[in-house]
C-alpha cells in the first residue's frame, strides 16, 4: 500500500480507533459457554483489546482454571464474534497475571446471583483451614443458612451448596 498523504493521517487514526472500539464491544459481549448469564468481560477473563505492533487488533483472554475445558470454546466464540462484526483480529491466550475471582465485576456478580449461582464471597486469599466453611448466601431466598454439598461442582469453578431454609440446591462460584 502506498503511503497515504499526510492530510489523511488524522482520519485514518479515527477509523482505526473506531475499529478497536467495535472489537472491544464485540469481544466483551461474548457469553461464557458454561455460565451463559455472564460475559467474558463480566468474568474478567477478557484482559485486553489493543493493536499489536504489526497493527493487528489483538484480543487477550486468560483461562480461569488450568484445566478449564471451556478455554478453547471461549476463544473460538470470541474469534467468531469478531469475524461476525467484520473485524480482522487475533485472539491470544495470556496466563499472567493469574486470573482471580476478584476480577468478576459487580454487574457480573449480580448477574450470577440472578441466574441462581452464588457469587464468590470476599476476596481471594491463600490456604484455608481444614473444614473451614464460608458463609454463602442462597441466591434464591438470601438466607445464610446454607450447607456445602460438595467442594467440587458441575464445573471446575463451582462448588455445590444447598439452602437449609428454602431447600434450593445451588452452585457457588468458588473464590480463588
Amino acid at each position: 500500500m502506498s503511503p497515504a498523504p499526510a492530510k489523511n493521517e488524522g482520519a485514518r487514526n479515527e477509523v482505526a480507533d473506531f475499529e478497536l472500539a467495535r472489537a472491544l464491544e464485540a469481544a466483551s459481549a461474548v457469553p461464557d459457554p458454561e455460565v451463559p448469564c455472564v460475559t467474558v468481560a463480566d468474568l474478567g477473563i477478557l484482559r485486553d483489546v489493543s493493536r499489536a505492533k504489526d497493527g493487528v487488533i489483538t484480543v487477550k483472554l486468560t483461562p480461569t482454571y488450568s484445566g478449564c475445558p471451556a478455554v478453547i470454546a471461549i476463544e473460538m466464540a470470541v474469534q467468531s464474534a469478531l469475524i461476525e462484526a467484520g473485524i480482522d483480529a487475533r485472539v491470544e491466550r495470556v496466563i499472567t497475571p493469574t486470573w482471580t475471582t476478584d476480577w468478576i465485576t459487580p454487574e457480573g456478580r449480580e448477574k450470577l446471583r440472578a441466574y441462581g449461582i452464588a457469587p464468590p464471597v470476599g476476596s481471594s486469599g491463600g490456604r484455608r483451614a481444614f473444614f473451614s466453611e464460608e458463609t454463602v448466601a442462597c441466591p434464591r431466598c438470601g438466607s445464610n443458612n446454607t450447607s456445602k454439598v460438595s467442594e467440587f461442582g458441575s464445573t471446575a469453578c463451582k462448588a455445590h451448596y444447598r439452602c437449609d431454609d428454602c431447600a434450593e440446591p445451588f452452585d457457588y462460584f468458588k473464590c480463588i
Binding site: G67, C68, P69, I95, P97, T98, R127, F130, F131, G153
Partner: protein, 258 residues
C-alpha cells in the same frame, strides 16, 4: 520458533518435564476413578482435581516444547515418549488402591506442590513458569484441603476406615522422600534460579502432614529407606500399565485428533 540449543535450555526443558510428568501421571490416575468413586460428589471432585492436574501438565509440556525448540507439541511429549523417558516421582504412579490410598496420595503430593508452586511463582527466573505456578498453587490449595479433610474423616472415623487409612500410610509413606530429592536436573535448575530447592519445603510438609495425622489420630509410619528412581526413569511395574492405557490411542492411530 527454534530456541537456541544450549545447556541452559536443555536443563530447563528436562526440569519442566519432571514437573509436567508428575502432573500428567497423577491426573491420569485420578481420571481412572471417573464413574467409580464412592459417591457422585466424590466422582466430581476426583475428576475436577484430575482436570486441574492435566491442565497444569498441558501448560508445562507446551512451555517445555517451546524451550526445547524441536517442534514437539504438548501431545508429543505427553503421549509419544517411552517409559524410561518419563521423569515423574514414584508416588504419583502408585495405583489408586482404595479411596483411602487415593486420598492420602493426593494429600502427600498437594502438601508438597502447593508451597512449591508458591515458591516457584515468587522466585523462578522464568516468567511463563511463574504464571503457570501462580495458577497451579491456587488449585493445589483446594486439593490439599479436600484430601486432608478426607484423611481426617477416615482416620478418625470407624475402626474399618481407620484401618484402611493406616494401611494406606504404610504403603505410601516410603514414596514421599523422593518429593524432596533433587535429581541432577533439578539441582542444575535450582542453581540456575529456575526452580527453588525442594529440600526447603521439608519442614512445611512435615508440619502439614503432622497436623493432619494428629487430627486424624493416625501415626506416620517410620521409614528407613525411601523409594526412589522415578526421576531417573526407573519406574514400578504399574507405570507400564498406566502408559499402555494413556498412550493407546496415539500409538494405535498416530496423529489422531478430535
Amino acid at each position: 520458533m527454534a530456541a537456541p540449543d544450549n545447556d541452559a535450555n536443555h536443563t530447563a526443558f528436562r526440569a519442566l518435564l519432571e514437573l509436567a510428568d508428575d502432573c500428567l501421571v497423577l491426573g491420569h490416575r485420578l481420571s481412572e476413578w471417573c464413574g467409580h468413586a464412592p459417591t457422585l460428589e466424590e466422582d466430581l471432585a476426583l475428576a475436577n482435581m484430575g482436570l486441574d492436574l492435566l491442565g497444569q501438565a498441558r501448560a508445562l509440556y507446551a512451555h517445555a516444547g517451546e524451550i526445547e525448540g524441536k517442534g514437539r507439541s504438548e501431545d508429543d511429549l505427553a503421549f509419544l515418549r517411552r517409559e524410561r523417558d518419563y521423569r515423574n516421582c514414584l508416588l504419583v504412579e502408585r495405583p489408586n488402591g482404595d479411596f483411602a490410598v487415593t486420598m492420602l496420595r493426593q494429600l502427600y503430593f498437594a502438601a508438597f506442590m502447593e508451597p512449591y508452586w508458591r515458591d516457584i511463582a515468587e522466585s523462578s527466573t522464568d516468567a511463563d513458569l511463574r504464571g503457570i505456578a501462580a495458577k497451579a498453587q491456587k488449585e493445589m490449595a483446594y486439593h490439599l484441603r479436600h484430601a486432608g479433610e478426607w484423611v481426617i474423616r477416615l482416620g478418625d472415623g470407624t475402626g474399618e476406615s481407620a484401618a484402611h487409612m493406616a494401611a494406606a500410610a504404610t504403603e505410601l509413606h516410603r514414596y514421599t522422600g523422593e518429593l524432596f530429592m533433587a535429581s541432577p536436573v533439578r539441582t542444575e535448575a535450582v542453581a540456575a534460579g529456575l526452580l527453588p530447592d525442594p529440600e526447603n519445603l521439608r519442614e512445611a510438609w512435615d508440619d502439614t502432614i503432622a497436623t493432619v495425622f494428629r487430627t486424624a489420630k493416625l501415626t506416620a509410619p517410620e521409614v528407613r529407606v525411601h523409594q526412589k528412581g522415578g526421576r531417573d526413569g526407573l519406574h514400578g511395574e504399574d507405570m507400564g500399565h498406566l502408559l499402555a492405557e494413556l498412550q493407546f490411542m496415539q500409538r494405535a492411530y498416530p496423529g489422531l485428533s478430535w
